[in-house]
């Protein structure tokens, strides 16, 4: 049988790290093939090899039985494969329209025509973005939608999607799937990477599992038990989330009244007690992220103020919020999450640097020890505390951001999309880490587009058009919560 895409015995090393160790994948014509594996398993590395961005150290890639084109021949690659990369390939200083048609605008650009085509394209994929805005002004989510629309618009017969849904909310994911089904009907082959295994079951026909840089399993999805898939990824039996019972304490750790930020949210009030996890949910543009960033001190509200752990840090003054006992996981890890050139240890320990030595010094040994501990508890896959975070896989970088939020034993936690791009096992670990912190007496706000993340919450505040419309206690079903979020049920 001739496969549409084959990667055989691929080896790729980055210095001491082996990202792919004789791994491979074979994808039949017209199927949607999932690639799953834990963070750092080598998925994105395979993507860069399948799209001709990197040369494998060994092994080969074949399209429809023929060897892949030379690395320099980008046009040939682009005819064979389109891709949504895990790392953004949007160019911030250009408009959305131009980003969509980058390098295929025609020799002379007809701007009016280009904009019209861009609007059509955006409309086709139901992306609610003005074609003339600068891509840099878009939110993470909108940016992701633009990338997806671009990749799908090439008319390539093979499309790779590397964690396209990590930053999308439910309806957007549904729209993407509708699109993918239509493409499959047209005979397009797809490779789909996600840490949401239910999506794999929903959209894919077969699945390949990578573990520790090797291919460990390839199976049709139909009839594959969920637990078996998870244990193939993790190499051990699957563990399920179990609700931990809690009773909130009396201390109020986060309190806000009359908070407003024009264009984002209005007149919002909430209190979070120690020993309590409060969820913030809402569909796109509901204002939940803006609110969370205000609670963390990143934004200065137009009215109202935030009380953290009994003190009133000056709004917009992040260090004051952190000093008041706040831990924070930002929405976009690349922008506010980590310093790529600095090591895992340094990134993770910035908030406690003052405790790692005397007279303003930082002892590297103590920093490394502290980091080693975090690496163990959060299960970060890295060469060691000294590896730059920029070299980590996406999910592991997210864990470093988490480590930074937890390192100072915060009294209040604000985490935004905490498990974006994190594998199933690590997801439990990260959410467990939030719950551990809460058991130690912290109060937490969890903002997420993923309902799974919200399961740890004692109650979920649902936002709609910038206002908190409902306080949903534990025990909700997906259907109920989504109905509130979509404003169907008030």
């Amino acid at each position: 049988m001739i496969y549409h895409v084959e990667a055989l015995n691929v080896v790729k090393r980055f210095g001491p790290t082996t990202a792919l160790d004789h791994a491979g994948i074979t994808i039949a014509e017209g199927e949607t093939h999932a690639l799953v594996g834990r963070n750092g398993a080598g998925k994105s590395t395979l993507v860069s090899i399948l799209t001709g961005l990197q040369r494998p150290d060994g092994g080969e890639v074949r399209f429809a039985g023929r060897p892949a084109p030379a690395l320099a021949d980008r046009d040939a690659w682009r005819r064979r494969v389109a891709c949504v990369y895990q790392k953004s390939t949007i160019i911030p200083a250009l408009t959305v329209a131009e980003n969509l048609f980058l390098n295929r605008q025609g020799r002379w650009i007809d701007w009016r025509g280009l904009r019209a085509r861009a609007r059509d394209l955006l409309a086709t994929y139901e992306v609610d973005v003005d074609a003339e805005t600068l891509a840099g002004d878009l939110g993470v989510e909108q940016r992701q939608l633009v990338e997806i629309a671009r990749a799908l618009s090439f008319g390539a017969t093979f499309i790779i999607l590397d964690e396209p849904t990590a930053r999308l909310d439910g309806p957007a994911i549904e729209r993407l799937f509708t699109r993918m089904r239509a493409l499959r009907e047209q005979g397009v082959t797809m490779m789909y990477i996600s840490h949401h295994l239910d999506e794999v079951y929903e959209i894919c026909q077969s699945v390949t599992v990578f573990r520790d840089a090797r291919q460990v399993m390839t199976r049709p999805v139909a009839g594959l038990p969920h637990d078996e898939l998870v244990s193939a990824m993790t190499g051990e039996a699957a563990v399920h989330y179990e609700a931990r019972p809690r009773t909130p304490g009396q201390n109020i750790v986060i309190k806000a009244e009359n908070l407003s930020l024009s264009g984002r949210f209005h007149d919002v009030g909430l209190t979070v007690r120690s020993g309590e996890v409060v969820g913030l949910a809402g569909s796109a543009s509901s204002g939940k992220v803006g609110l969370a960033e205000t609670l963390a001190g990143l934004r200065r509200p137009d009215t109202g103020r935030v009380e953290v752990n009994g003190s009133h840090p000056r709004s917009g003054d992040v260090p004051a919020f952190l000093a008041a006992g706040l831990g924070f996981v930002p929405e976009d890890r690349h922008r506010e999450g980590f310093v790529p050139l600095l090591s895992v240890a340094e990134n993770a320990t910035v908030p406690i640097a003052r405790r790692l030595g005397r007279f303003g010094t930082v002892s590297p040994a103590r920093r490394r020890a502290e980091a080693a501990h975090l690496i163990r508890t959060l299960d970060i896959k890295t060469e060691g505390p000294d590896q730059p975070v920029g070299d980590l896989s996406g999910g592991n970088a997210q864990k470093v951001v988490f480590a930074r939020a937890l390192v100072d034993d915060p009294k209040a936690l604000v985490v935004i999309n905490p498990t974006a791009g994190v594998d199933v096992k690590s997801k439990l670990a990260l959410l467990g880490a939030v719950e551990d912190a809460v058991e130690r007496g912290a109060g937490a706000v969890v903002v997420s587009d993923e309902l799974d993340d919200l399961r740890i919450c004692d109650r979920v505040l649902v936002m709609y058009h910038g206002r908190i419309v409902r306080d949903v206690p534990r025990g909700w079903t997906d259907h109920e919560l989504v109905a509130v979020m979509e404003g169907i049920e008030q």
Partner: protein, 317 residues
Amino acid sequence: MARFRDLTLVPVIVLLLAVGAVLDPIFLTSGNLTNILQQQAAISLVVLAEAMILISGKFDLSLESTVGMAPALAVMLVVPAAAGGFGLGLPAVLVIPLCLLVGAAVGAFNGFLIIRFQLSAFVVTLAMLIIVHGLQLGPTEGKTLFQLPDSILYLGSATWLGLPAAIWIAAVLFGAGSLGLGYLRLGRSLYAIGGNADAARAAGIRVDRVLWGVFVLGGVLAALAGILETGRLGAIGAGQGVGWIFMVFAAAVIGGVSMDGGKGTILGALTGVLVIGLVQNILTLKGVSGFWQPVVYGGIILVALMISRIAGGKAQD
């Protein structure tokens, strides 16, 4: 909106015109304004070159040395030894092609080191700034070349339709640059490369080849600037172009071109050049003391920068 971001300096230019007119009756005469344009014509070509290089995310300090060295070397190749040449006896008509060729060669060498060897553009072109200037000083032994072939003098001194040819040339090239960067796929690819080279590469843009081309074009424009300057001055001194590069950067950046790449327009860079030209002219007309002139001059650049910041609304980098 986006269209007008290039033109944040227009109010500054209007202000300078008004101030100039009040300060000196000569200022708004067509003669004086023509002078300003002519004086800025040569340096504006270097600004054009630098703007393109900056937009594609790179850096070239060596352009200023090419302004002197390219015409000097070209002239030495064609004039007899008695006039300070190498005495090769090449035909004089070749002087302009040779000059542009020398500029292209410097650009190509810069590109080679920066792109192939992945060396720091700043230090490579800094070293080249020194080396290229040395390649003028060495053969000329620091002497001024003043027996020049007529052809190299023509462009910088001729008048076409009542305006100096240099102004026409600069205008046409700025027009071409503006259209090219606005409407050509190749031109747009500079923004993509400067904005995110990896993404540009993933989108199939031949990043290395385009960058190389930009460096070569930059060298050619600097050489052409040298030709215009040579015609305007009537000789090639050892200091031709020396010290320009700072003004070139200042013009480009106050004109809205980002030092971080991917941002800015050719039209914006042009407004930057005009601001600098107007300031210099006003300072000259008023005869501000040479000692204090730098303070006034630098102060005005700061003010222009602030206005372009306020009008542009965004933090600069």
